[in-house]
C-alpha cells in the first residue's frame, strides 16, 4: 500500500533539513506589505464606521497576522503526515460547520459566510479549504496504484470534492470555484485521467451556465464583465447603478492609472475612498495605486517565488507522493487566489470577493493561509537532501 509506505514512522527519524527560507521570507514580506497597505486602505471604513479610529483596525489586523503566523509555526512543526491523518475528520467537521453557517450564519456583504463565536467572526469555508486539500492529497496518494480507474479513484474523489465545493458554493461561488480548480489541478498532477477531468469540466461549464441563469445577481455580474446584455432585466437586481460591478471595475482601473510606474506614495491613495472593500477585495488595486506598477509587480513576484519554490523546491523533492500532492495543492491554492485576485482587480476577470492571501484584511482567510504555509514549510523540512 502506498499510503502505509508514505506515512511510515521511519521518515521522522531522518535528519531534519532547515525549512525553506524563500517561502518563509515571501510570507513575511507579504504580511508586512499587507499591514502597510491595509492600514491605508481601511481608513475610509474607519472614518465611516469607527469615527476615524484607523488604529483600531490596524491593531485588529496585526492580531490576525499574529494568529496566522502562530498557525504557520504550529503547522510547520507538526509532521504533515500526522496532520493528514486528521484530514477526513477535519473535513467532515468543517462541512458540518458550513451547514450550520447556512442555517444560522451572519450575513455580511450580501452573502452568509460567517459564523460568530463569541466576538470573533469565523468563516468555516476557509477551514474547509485546508481540510479538503489535505484530504484530497491523502486520497490521491492512497489511490496511486489504481489512479486511472473511474470508479475506484475518480468517483470517490469527486464525491468529496464536489460535495465540499457545492456546500461552499451555495454562499461563495468564487471560493468554491477556486477550490474546485485547485483540487482538479492536484488530480491532474496525480495522474487522474485527463479524459475524466475534461468530462467533469464540460459538465461543470454546463452547470455554471445553469447557475448564471437562475441567479439574476450573477447574470448581472457576467453581463457587466462582458459589457453586454445577455438576459432580460429581471427587476430583482439589487445592485445600485453607481455602486455596480461596472463602477467597481472602473474605479479599480482608475487606481492603476493613478499609480503610474512608482505610485502616489504610501498612504496617499485616493481610490480607497471610491472602491468598495479596498482593504480586502481590491487591495491589489490600492497597492498598484500607492506603489505603482513596481509595487504591483513586486507583489506578483512574491507570489511567483512562492509558486516556483512550492512546486520545484518543496513538491518535487518531497519524500513521498502525499508530500508532493500537498505541496502542489497548497502552493496552487495560495498562488491561484493571489493571481485571480490580481486579475479581478485589473479587470481581467469579473468582480468577485476574493482576498489576496496574507495581504488582505480578513481573519479566517489569513489563518487558513498561515496553516497552508506552515504545512508547506513542514514538507520542505522533510525533503530529501540533494
Amino acid at each position: 500500500m502506498v499510503s502505509s509506505a508514505t506515512v511510515s514512522p521511519g521518515s521522522e527519524s531522518r535528519p531534519k533539513r532547515p525549512i525553506d527560507r524563500y517561502v518563509l521570507w515571501a510570507a513575511l514580506a507579504l504580511a508586512v506589505f499587507g499591514v502597510v497597505a491595509v492600514y491605508s486602505a481601511i481608513s475610509f471604513l474607519a472614518e465611516t464606521r469607527a469615527g476615524g479610529d484607523t488604529e483600531r483596525f490596524l491593531v485588529r489586523h496585526l492580531v490576525r497576522v499574529g494568529v496566522a503566523f502562530a498557525a504557520l509555526l504550529a503547522c510547520s512543526a507538526i509532521d504533515y503526515r500526522k496532520l493528514a491523518r486528521f484530514s477526513r475528520i477535519a473535513l467532515l467537521v468543517s462541512l458540518g460547520l458550513l451547514v450550520v453557517v447556512h442555517i444560522a450564519g451572519v450575513t455580511w456583504g450580501g452573502a452568509t459566510r460567517w459564523l460568530r463565536i463569541g466576538s470573533v467572526g469565523f468563516q468555516p469555508s476557509d477551514l474547509a479549504r485546508v481540510a479538503l486539500i489535505l484530504y484530497v492529497g491523502v486520497l490521491l496518494a492512497k489511490k496511486q496504484a489504481y489512479i486511472a480507474s473511474f470508479t475506484r479513484s475518480f468517483l470517490p474523489l469527486m464525491v468529496w470534492v464536489l460535495g465540499a465545493c457545492i456546500l461552499i458554493g451555495m454562499e461563495d461561488l468564487s471560493s468554491a470555484l477556486m477550490l474546485l480548480a485547485t483540487a482538479m489541478l492536484m488530480c491532474f498532477v496525480a495522474r487522474v485521467r485527463a479524459t475524466h477531468l475534461a468530462g467533469l469540466s464540460a459538465a461543470g461549464l454546463a452547470l455554471a451556465l445553469l447557475l448564471v441563469l437562475v441567479s439574476p445577481n450573477r447574470a448581472a455580474r457576467l453581463e457587466s464583465y462582458l459589457g453586454m446584455d445577455l438576459f432580460p432585466p429581471s427587476g430583482t437586481e439589487e445592485v445600485a447603478e453607481d455602486r455596480g460591478e461596472g463602477y467597481q471595475a472602473q474605479q479599480a482601473r482608475i487606481a492603476f492609472a493613478m499609480g503610474g510606474l512608482t505610485g502616489v506614495g504610501p498612504g496617499k491613495s485616493t481610490q480607497r475612498d471610491f472602491l468598495p472593500a479596498p482593504y480586502n477585495d481590491f487591495i491589489f488595486a490600492i497597492v498598484a495605486e500607492e506603489y505603482g506598477l513596481l509595487g504591483a509587480m513586486a507583489l506578483l513576484a512574491a507570489f511567483s517565488i512562492l509558486l516556483f519554490r512550492g512546486f520545484l523546491r518543496i513538491a518535487r523533492p518531497a519524500p513521498d507522493p502525499l508530500g508532493l500532492f500537498l505541496g502542489v495543492g497548497f502552493t496552487t491554492s495560495v498562488a491561484l487566489y493571489a493571481f485571480v485576485h490580481a486579475a479581478v482587480a485589473c479587470g481581467l476577470l469579473p468582480v468577485t470577493g476574493l482576498p489576496l492571501p496574507f495581504v488582505s484584511y480578513g481573519g479566517t482567510s489569513m489563518a487558513a493561509t498561515g496553516m497552508m504555509f506552515g504545512i508547506l514549510l513542514n514538507i520542505s523540512r522533510q525533503c530529501a537532501a540533494r
Binding site: A257, M258, T270, F339, C346, G347
Partner: protein, 655 residues
C-alpha cells in the same frame, strides 16, 4: 515512463499554466496604462480633487471723516445633516427651538428638510447672529452644521442708502456703490485643496497650495455723514410738507466735483432692501430724466451772452406776460412789462427768455448745451446713470429752440443740472462728479485716489461773471427768495415744469426744482433740489427753495469757515437775524417777500378745523408760517389754537 516522471511532467505543465496568470495581469496593467491611462487619471482627479473657498472679507465703506457706513459682521448659516445618528431623537425639539429662535414656523423647517436636494445637507437658516449661533450650539443637536460667513451691515440704516446700495445674501453688490465697486470691495476668495470621497465628504489637511484670500478694498467717500443726514431730513420734511411723491437732491463741491451729499426721499433701508419696492431703491438723482424747466435758462443765458445776442442790462419787453413764438404760447406768472435781461432771468420770464433765445443760432445753442454736459452721462461712479436727451439740431422742429430755452424738449438728470450750476459757480469750468475719494486696502493704505483734474471748460469765465448777477438776483429778490441764507450770498435759479406723460403734459403734475450755490463770491457748495408732484404748491421757489435753504443753513455747522462768515455777517446786521435758533438751524423766513403772490401777513390764526390739510397749508405758506402736518385729509386739531398770533410752527392734526 514511470509514475514519478509522469507526475513531474504533469506538474511542470501545471506550473507553466499557473505562470501565465501573473504575466497576463502585468500585461493588462500595461494595457490600462497605455490605452486609457490619461482618461482614467483625469476621471480620478475630477472625482477626488476639489477646493473649499476661503471667503475674502468685503471692504468697508467710510464717509469723508472715516465714519463707517457699511461694515461686515460675522454671520452663520445653519444647515442640518438629518442622517446623523441621534438627530431623529431630537428632531421635534430641534424644529421647535429653531422656530422660536428665528420666528419662522417649525413646519417650514420640516418641509425644508423633507424637500432637501442633497441627502446629507439641508440648509435651513441664513445669517444667524453670534448670539443665535451660541444658542443653537447649546442645543447640542447632532447633525447641526454652522458655517461662518460675512454679512453686510449698514450702520446708519436708511442714511445714504441710494449711494451705498446693497448686497444680496451672497454678499454681491446689487446697486449703488456696492455694485459699482463690487470688484474692488469683494476681493478675491482664497481656496484650500480638499479631497472628496464617494460619499462627498471632505478630507482636510491635503497637501497642496493654499491660496490666501485677498480681502476687498475699502472705500472712503466724499460724502459727509452729517450733511447727508441733514439733507435727508430736510428732503423728507419737504416731501411731507408739500405732500409730494418724492424729492431728490445732490450737492457738489464745484471746484472738485466731489459729491458732498446725495439723497432721495423716501429712502430705503439697505439692511433689508428686499422689503422695499424697486421704485424706492432707484437713485432718482441719476436715473430719472425730467424736463428741467427754468433751471435750464442757465444755458439760455450763457448762450445768449456768448453769442452776443443781448447784454445783461438790455431791456427786453415781456409785455403782458404772454407771447407767441414759433406758434407756441409762452406765459409768465404775471405781467412785468419792459425789464432788463438780468431781471428776465431773475424773475424767470418765459416770454423774455424765449424772445432772446429765438434769435440764437441753433447749432451754437446746441453746442453750448452740449458743453454743459447735457445729453451725456456725467460719469459719476454710481451705476444706472442715464444720459438724458438733448436732441441735435437736425431733429428740431421750429419751436424746439425756444422751448429748449425755457427748459422743455430736453431731458436732464438732477445731477446734470448740478454739474451745470457747478460750472457757473466755478467760472465756467465743468467738473466730473464723483462719490469715492479713495480706495484703501485691508491694512488702511491708500491704493487709489480720485483724480482732481477732470475739468473741462463749459463756457468763458467772463461769461460766468457777466451772468452771475442774474442768479444772485433770483435769490435776492426774484423767484427764489426763500433760498436765502442769512449772512451768505446765494445764487441760484428755480425751475417748475409740467410732467410729461404719453406725449402730452399733465395739467396737475409738476416738478419743482431749485439749483443754487453759495457763497456766491467763493462758491463751495452747489446744491440742487427737485420735488416730484408737490401738492400744496407747485413752484420751485415755494417747494424746492425752502428745502435748499433749510439744508444749507444747517450745513453751515459742518463748514466752520462759512459758518464764521455767515455769523459775523448776521452779527453786523442783527435785524436780519432770523430767530433765536442761530445760523446752523433751519431759518424761518417770515419777513421775506413772495414773488408769485403778494406777501400776506396774519395777526391771528383762523380756526382750521374742517379745512382740508392742503387748504390750510396753502394759507399758512402764503403767510410764511412754518407748518407741521400730522395725518391726511381734514384738519381736526391745531396748535396753537385759533386766535393766537402766529410766530411758531403750526401743528395740524387729522384723525
Amino acid at each position: 515512463m514511470d509514475a514519478k516522471d509522469a507526475i513531474l511532467i504533469r506538474m511542470y505543465a501545471a506550473l507553466t499554466a499557473l505562470c501565465l496568470l501573473p504575466l497576463l495581469v502585468v500585461g493588462q496593467v500595461f494595457r490600462i496604462h497605455l490605452t486609457e491611462g490619461g482618461d482614467l487619471r483625469d476621471q480620478g482627479e475630477r472625482q477626488t480633487n476639489s477646493f473649499v473657498g476661503i471667503p475674502a472679507m468685503r471692504g468697508a465703506i467710510y464717509d469723508r471723516a472715516g465714519r463707517t457706513l457699511a461694515v461686515n459682521t460675522a454671520r452663520y448659516d445653519l444647515a442640518i445633516d438629518p442622517t446623523v445618528s441621534g438627530f431623529d431623537a431630537q428632531r421635534d425639539a430641534f424644529f421647535e427651538r429653531l422656530s422660536k429662535l428665528t420666528g419662522a414656523s417649525a413646519a417650514h423647517y420640516r418641509q425644508r428638510v423633507r424637500e432637501r436636494t442633497s441627502p446629507q445637507y439641508a440648509p435651513l437658516v441664513r445669517g444667524l447672529s453670534e448670539e443665535q449661533k451660541e444658542e443653537a450650539l447649546r442645543w447640542e443637536t447632532p447633525g447641526v452644521i454652522l458655517d461662518p460667513a460675512f454679512a453686510r451691515r449698514y450702520n446708519h440704516g436708511q442714511t445714504a442708502s441710494h449711494i451705498l446700495g446693497y448686497v444680496n445674501s451672497d454678499g454681491i453688490g446689487l446697486s449703488g456703490l456696492e455694485l459699482q465697486y463690487d470688484e474692488h470691495l469683494r476681493g478675491v476668495d482664497g481656496r484650500r485643496p480638499v479631497q472628496r470621497n464617494r460619499l462627498g465628504r471632505i478630507r482636510t489637511f491635503v497637501s497642496g497650495k493654499v491660496v490666501e484670500p485677498v480681502h476687498g478694498a475699502s472705500l472712503v467717500l466724499t460724502i459727509d455723514l452729517l450733511r447727508q443726514t441733514i439733507l435727508e431730513e430736510e428732503l423728507a420734511r419737504g416731501v411731507a410738507e408739500t405732500e409730494a411723491l418724492s424729492a431728490s437732491a445732490v450737492a457738489l463741491d464745484p471746484r472738485t466735483g466731489a459729491v458732498l451729499a446725495l439723497a432721495n426721499a423716501p429712502a430705503f433701508d439697505p439692511n433689508r432692501a428686499g422689503a422695499y419696492p424697486a421704485e424706492l431703491r432707484r437713485n432718482r438723482v441719476i436715473t430719472d430724466r425730467m424736463e428741467p424747466g427754468s433751471t435750464f435758462k442757465l444755458v439760455s443765458a450763457v448762450s445768449a451772452i456768448e453769442q452776443g445776442l443781448v447784454q445783461m442790462e438790455e431791456v427786453i419787453d415781456t409785455g403782458d406776460g404772454w407771447a407767441v413764438v414759433h406758434g407756441r404760447t409762452f406765459t409768465d406768472t404775471r405781467a412785468r412789462g419792459a425789464i432788463p435781461f438780468r431781471e428776465v432771468i431773475s424773475l424767470s420770464s418765459n416770454v423774455g427768455t424765449a424772445k432772446v433765445v429765438s434769435r440764437a443760432d441753433r447749432d451754437t445753442f446746441y453746442a453750448h448745451a452740449r458743453r454743459f454736459g447735457f445729453g451725456q452721462r456725467t460719469g459719476i461712479d454710481l451705476p444706472g446713470e442715464v444720459q438724458g436727451s438733448l436732441k441735435p439740431p437736425d431733429e428740431w422742429s421750429a419751436a424746439t429752440l425756444t422751448a429748449m430755452g425755457i427748459g422743455y424738449e430736453v431731458d436732464v438728470t438732477l445731477l446734470q443740472t448740478a454739474v451745470a450750476y457747478a460750472a457757473l459757480a466755478n467760472g465756467g469750468r465743468r467738473v466730473a462728479p464723483h462719490v469715492v475719494a479713495e480706495r484703501r486696502d485691508v491694512t488702511g493704505r491708500t491704493t487709489w485716489k480720485a483724480p482732481q483734474d477732470s475739468v473741462r471748460r463749459a463756457f468763458r469765465s467772463s461769461t460766468a461773471e457777466t451772468i452771475l448777477p442774474a442768479f444772485l438776483g433770483a435769490v435776492e429778490r426774484g423767484t427764489a427768495t426763500r433760498a436765502q441764507i442769512a449772512g451768505l450770498k446765494v445764487a441760484g435759479k428755480t425751475g417748475t415744469s409740467l410732467k410729461a406723460e404719453d406725449g402730452g403734459y399733465r395739467e396737475d403734475a409738476y416738478r419743482a426744482s431749485f439749483a443754487g450755490f453759495f457763497p456766491a463770491d467763493d462758491p463751495q457748495i452747489v446744491l440742487v433740489v427737485a420735488v416730484d408732484e408737490p401738492q400744496t404748491f407747485q413752484h420751485g421757489g415755494q417747494v424746492a427753495a425752502p428745502i435748499f435753504q433749510r439744508a444749507a443753513a444747517r450745513w453751515l455747522a459742518t463748514f466752520p469757515e462759512l459758518s464764521r462768515q455767515a455769523f459775523s455777517a448776521v452779527q453786523r446786521a442783527p435785524e436780519a437775524a432770523p430767530d433765536e435758533s442761530g445760523v446752523a438751524r433751519p431759518v424761518s423766513l417770515r419777513n421775506q417777500s413772495e414773488t408769485e403772490a403778494a406777501p400776506l401777513t396774519a395777526h391771528a390764526l383762523p380756526d382750521f378745523r374742517g379745512w382740508t390739510m392742503r387748504e390750510a397749508a396753502h394759507w399758512l405758506s402764503r403767510r410764511n408760517i412754518p407748518l407741521r402736518i400730522e395725518g391726511k385729509g381734514v384738519v381736526s386739531a391745531q396748535y396753537p389754537e385759533a386766535g393766537h398770533p402766529p410766530g411758531q410752527t403750526v401743528v395740524l392734526q387729522s384723525r
